[in-house]
């Protein structure tokens, strides 16, 4: 069965520091991969997605992610975090259903920013 693992439950970084959130997936074919962000009490907002082509994907808010098939990974990065980036981040893989895809999510990584 398809699955997503986010090894880090909670990460704390200082404002202005670089960030990398890890995501590993289990899926037999070429995956559809997503990163979402959730601020406290809010819904999910799409940061970026990968379907095919260039393995380095640019997203909103200065985030990027790199698909590495050999490592089954899709890590999220940002060169310099801002206090407003404090949130929970979810990696997800799309799995086929009835002509579309359903999302299988990782457990999430909570990001805290130190001033």
């Amino acid at each position: 069965a398809q699955s997503v693992t986010q090894p880090d439950i909670h990460i704390t970084v200082s404002e202005g520091a670089s960030l990398e959130l890890r995501c590993n997936y289990s899926y037999g074919a070429t995956p559809y991969l997503f990163w979402y962000v959730q601020s406290p009490g809010q819904g999910l907002q799409l940061l970026l997605k990968y379907f095919s082509g260039d393995t380095l994907v640019q997203g909103i808010k200065g985030f990027e992610a790199e698909f590495k098939r050999s490592q089954s990974s899709f890590n999220l990065r940002k060169p310099s975090v801002h206090w407003s980036d404090a949130a929970e981040y979810f990696c997800a893989v799309g799995t086929p259903i009835q002509g579309a895809q359903k999302l299988v999510f990782g457990q999430g990584t909570r990001l805290t920013i130190n001033p």
Partner: protein, 114 residues
């Protein structure tokens, strides 16, 4: 998000009572989904719909049923609520066609079963 509305936003109910949550969309998207979010589990799929009257189970469907009698509405029913169903429930929609592989999530319904 614009185009998708969940109601109610908050609900407290007693164990053993039936509860219905509503997801309403104005985007005319074919696919609709119900997820639940619990700490340490991320979001898990309860049921999804791929058209009017076409639904299927997700990974945590026990104790839940769904109905979709028209494109815009997808209802989630807890037949007899239990404390383990205390959670935040998210509806999502997608159209999944060439050039539009996106999902839009609602703002969530926080359900407490006492």
């Amino acid at each position: 998000d614009a185009g998708i509305t969940q109601s109610p936003r908050h609900k407290v109910t007693e164990t053993g009572t039936p509860v219905t949550l509503r997801c309403h969309q104005t985007e005319n998207h074919r696919y609709m989904y119900w997820y639940r979010q619990d700490p340490g589990h991320g979001l898990r799929l309860i049921h999804y719909s791929y058209g009017v009257k076409d639904t299927d189970k997700g990974e945590v469907s026990d104790g839940y049923s769904v109905s979709r009698s028209k494109t815009e509405d997808f209802l989630l029913t807890l037949e007899s609520a239990t404390s383990s169903q205390t959670s935040v429930y998210f509806c999502a929609i997608s159209n999944w066609r060439q050039g539009s592989y996106g999902y839009t999530f609602g703002s969530g319904t926080r359900l407490t079963v006492v």
